[in-house]
């Protein structure tokens, strides 16, 4: 029994089911991020937790109280919207205290709570301004203040940073993370930005097409993605997925991949049970940062394989250089140090950290578990 339980919940609009049997249990103080491409049902799920959309089947419980049919204002939740949804006709102060007023909190207490929150978020200087006279970042803060002041059981955020410019987004991301560490409240946070998901969350639910594809810690999601969708959606640049054939060498399974000139290279697996796939096709998943030059290879890894292949393009990007090559007929990206000596058109010997490699069943696109 978690703090917030989403139990076998579905959502249909008419005959169309847009969320299928979602099962998520959130512990107190967790920061759960719902991440997925546009239209996958993140907002819908969040709105169901908030009570803004009703639940077609299944149950949602907060602190063991059944929430189905309970009015949004009675769930002790607070929500920060993508557009901030600040009341344009009220001052910042009135925006923050409106919810308290509606819940019948007496004026002196409202003022006190307002000043506490304003102090925490550093918005005291514009309590008397209308939202129209604030910058995007300030509005964002006010929206969070309006949520914080209620002291809710669960905070819900729907893409709160997507209207900010890149720099401010990173700053506010850090602020939200700090706030969570300081207050320790339970948060459910929707985003389609996988970096936001990885940096903020204690757990991530990756969604696609109305299904939760995988639920796990950022580490689990990143290192052991449940399927090809999760593998390629999380991480930037995306994980390389390379057609390969399993073979045995010295009693250990290896992946045979075709390099640019049609010759076959072998990459030994660390995962023993792949010997059951001997002779079969798989899809090999390798993250760009695990393909490097020899000097930069992870020294703690017990399984560095070498692979010589032609460099197609190099893209210097400040601290890193992205190197692309052709493997198994697909474009593959390696993320190298900026001072690695790679030249387009020339052959280069790459060091591949096979400890971090994963294998997928090409038929189901599911990861082959270790």
């Amino acid at each position: 029994m978690g703090f917030l339980d989403i139990d076998n919940t579905t959502k249909s609009y008419g005959a169309v089911e847009v969320l299928h049997n979602v099962d998520i249990s959130v512990e107190e103080g967790e920061f759960l991020v719902l991440v997925g491409p546009s239209g996958c049902g993140k907002s819908t799920l969040l709105n169901m937790i908030a009570g803004l959309e009703d639940i077609s089947s299944g149950e949602i419980r907060i602190k063991d109280q059944l929430m189905n049919g309970v009015h949004p204002s009675k769930r002790n939740i607070a929500m920060v919207f993508q557009s901030y949804a600040l009341y344009p006709n009220m001052t910042v102060g009135q925006n923050i205290t409106f919810g308290l007023e509606m819940h019948g909190v007496p004026k002196p207490e409202r003022e006190k709570a307002m000043h506490e929150v304003a102090n925490l978020l550093q918005i005291e200087n514009f309590l008397d301004r209308k939202p129209g006279a604030l910058s995007g970042g300030q509005r964002q803060r006010v929206a969070m203040g309006r949520a914080l002041v209620r002291n809710p059981d669960v905070f819900l955020f729907d893409e709160p940073l997507s209207n900010l410019d890149a720099k401010l987004r990173v700053d506010m991301r850090t602020e939200i993370k700090k706030l969570h560490q300081k207050l320790g409240t339970t948060i459910v946070y929707v985003t389609h930005d996988q970096i936001e998901a990885l940096t903020l969350s204690t757990r991530i639910a990756v969604m696609n097409g109305g299904y939760v594809q995988q639920l796990g810690t950022p580490q689990e999601i990143y290192d052991t993605p449940a399927n090809i969708f999760v593998a390629t959606f999380m991480g930037s640049p995306a994980m390389n997925v390379i057609p390969a054939k399993v073979d045995m060498q010295n009693g250990r399974p290896v992946a045979c991949v075709e390099t640019h000139d049609g010759t076959t290279s072998t990459l030994p697996f660390s995962q023993d049970n792949l010997s059951e796939w001997n002779g079969k096709d798989i899809l090999l998943g390798i993250r760009p940062e695990t393909i490097t030059d020899e000097d930069a290879a992870d020294r703690k890894s017990s399984n560095i394989a070498h692979l010589t292949n032609q460099v197609v393009v190099t893209e210097p990007a400040g601290s890193d250089t992205f190197v692309s090559m052709t493997l198994g007929g697909r474009d593959v990206i390696a993320r190298m140090r900026s001072d690695a000596e790679v030249k387009p058109g020339a052959d280069f010997t790459f060091a591949v950290n096979m400890e971090k490699a994963v294998a997928f069943d090409p038929a189901t696109e599911m990861r082959i578990p270790a």
Binding site: P72, S73, A78, F81, Q82, A85, P88, N89, F98
Partner: protein, 293 residues
């Protein structure tokens, strides 16, 4: 090259602009002419008009026709002037405008933010109300007013105008609220505001421009209405328009054109006033629904 073309562009621009202003000026004169005729003739003694000088400025300036029209002219059988009828109109128009606007706002709110099954059909039917000709509803309306015991009363007349106006006011507010962010309503719901609290505290304070549109529209239509007034008003609560007709149509005695002109201006004055006070919000409000932001 570019300098030369720019130069000619400016020169042709100047010629064109002069032409356009000339044409516009002609239009202005054309449209102002009736007002001019009414104004100058309302401040002349009658002889100057009957003497054939309709277009001339007054030789003797007098406000006598205005006072007469307002307080002592023969309306029907009573020499009361237009003033009691002016107040009749006010008593009919003010409640009708306020109530139809508030109801339109509520309808718009429900139709956009509390969607329910069949709401678009309902809205379509309400729109239909904007196209029903006045004449068609006369007899059924008389019947309904009779049943309600409101026949011949000011309230009955207001009711007719409210019912007739709701289609328009609903249309205005629905279109305005359709682009009002639904997230604000949701935020207010989470904050614990109820149906009417959201309406009063969140929606209405942001409805200024469209409320002005609705008020101007309703005010001018109801104030200027003649048919409903003539059909449903009792002898004691006829509106200004009907009284003006009675003044002008009076069959006995000399036709006092100067008094008629003064009376007509008096009858038009409130709508003019509303336009002057709120007119600039009118266009802004009409645009607000169509352009986002």
């Amino acid at each position: 090259m570019s300098v030369a073309t720019q130069d000619t562009a400016i020169r042709t621009g100047r010629v064109m602009r002069t032409l356009i202003y000339l044409v516009l000026l002609l239009f202005v004169l054309f449209y102002m002419l009736p007002l001019y005729v009414m104004l100058v003739n309302s401040v002349k003694p009658l002889e100057e008009i009957t003497g054939g000088g309709m277009m001339n400025l007054p030789q003797v300036f007098t406000l006598e026709p205005w006072f007469k029209a307002w307080s002592s002219a023969q309306i029907g059988v009573e020499p009361t002037g237009l003033s009691p009828y002016f107040w009749n109109s006010i008593k009919m128009v003010v409640p009708a405008v306020i109530i139809s606007t508030v109801l339109g706002a509520l309808n718009g709110y429900v139709l956009t933010k509390w969607r329910f099954r069949g709401d678009t059909i309902l809205f379509g039917l309400m729109l239909f109300a904007c196209f029903i000709p006045f004449q068609i509803v006369l007899i059924p309306m008389a019947r309904v007013l009779g049943e309600l015991g409101l026949a011949g009363s000011t309230w009955g007349l207001s009711l007719v105008h409210i019912v007739y106006g709701i289609g328009f006011t609903t249309l205005y507010f629905r279109n305005y609220y359709a682009v009002f962010p639904t997230e604000l309503i949701r935020a207010a719901q989470i904050d614990g505001a109820g149906f009417f609290q959201i309406f009063w505290r969140i929606l209405l304070p942001s409805s200024g421009p469209i409320a002005v549109v609705s008020i101007i529209w309703q005010f001018t239509n109801i104030w200027n209405d003649f048919l409903f007034g003539a059909s449903f008003a009792g002898a004691n609560n006829q509106p200004m328009t009907v009284a003006l007709n009675n003044l002008v149509q009076a069959s006995h005695g000399v036709k006092e054109y100067n008094v008629h002109f003064a009376g007509a201006i008096l009858a038009a004055l409130p709508t003019l006033l509303v336009y002057i006070v709120a007119g600039r919000y009118f266009v802004r409000g009409l645009m607000a629904g169509s352009v986002k932001g």
